[in-house]
Point group: C2
């Protein structure tokens, strides 16, 4: 038992290490040795958990997908109305605090690393399409009278806006405070008749 507990604990420590290196030092310094140093272990352990370096990136992206999925599902369940759910889900996609800012950096880092890598870009597309469908579903629930095309167009505008906002704020948090981001989101939802 202590064996498997240690193993899963090591797994989490390693995940955090991959995450933090990618978020704090960037894609180019995401090396096996840097991850090992951040996790407080050696390269041997890292290479035992991951077949190669690309798997580090892939793991970071899958972790991002899992974390955001769990968070938005919680937010969805706790929301009083479909419109509140939509707003809460979109809100967490921006870079409002250090945690979400790091998530945005990881998103960008993976995207940059996935250029010219079919397998990684496929993962990216899969996750983005799932995200898009989720927001379309929430939008449709918020305004059932809208046509499918209207839903798709507005949902696209919303995910593009929040993702772009996350990218901007990730690189320049001082210029894009959380209050401004929220004001922008509310202005958009109001303009589309979603508030």
């Amino acid at each position: 038992m202590s064996r498997t507990a240690d193993r899963s604990a090591q797994g989490e420590a390693l995940s955090r290490a991959v995450w933090s290196v990618l978020a704090e030092q960037g894609l180019e310094r995401l090396t096996v040795r840097a991850v090992a140093a951040a996790a407080g272990c050696t390269t041997g352990l890292v290479m035992h958990r991951f077949p190669n370096r690309r798997a580090l990136l892939l793991h970071a992206r899958q972790l991002l997908h899992r974390v955001t999925r769990e968070r938005v599902e919680t937010l969805e369940a706790a929301a009083a109305t479909p419109r509140a759910a939509l707003r809460a889900v979109l809100r967490q996609g921006m870079a409002l605090d250090e945690r979400t800012r790091q998530e945005a950096v990881v998103w960008i880092g993976f995207l940059a690393g996935a250029v010219a890598d079919d397998e990684l870009i496929a993962e990216h597309r899969r996750n983005n399409r799932a995200w898009r469908e989720r927001v379309e579903r929430l939008t449709a629930a918020a305004v059932p009278e809208w046509s499918a095309e209207r839903v798709a167009t507005v949902a696209l505008a919303l995910i593009a806006m929040t993702e772009g906002m996350a990218a901007y704020a990730a690189a320049d948090p001082g210029a894009f405070p959380a209050a401004d981001q929220e004001r922008m989101l509310d202005a958009a939802l109001t303009a589309y008749g979603l508030m």
Copy 2:
């Protein structure tokens, strides 16, 4: 004269090489040797033009800034109304064709490379702030009756949306055809009362 002509021609060839390597092969493969190979020269020439590798990234970003600035200034000058100018300028910020798609990839690549690099991130912020101010100015011209705060909020929503759209489309052009991007932009402009 032939000397300086050759020199500037070499400069352009080198710029194109940096650009294409970053856009097609990604940040991690943006090496001095790859750029030299793409430019059809040797590493010696590259290192004579650029002090170090970071300068390659910086050059790509500055080139992106210059290209987009010239393009939007042309569009602005040719636009019949302030609203048309705003739309045209925002439109070119998305990834509508192969050219703009590559620009989006370069934008992402530089951003990912600028993490943990103060000098590069400073350049990124400078350019982004100039872009933001331009769109704010165009927005204010389109609706003079708006307050400065309203202008800032809507302009932020617009640049975030187009930048996010560019990032999405850069990674998955098939899922985000140009027509969908334009429809999204028009829907947003309509919703904000800008069309």
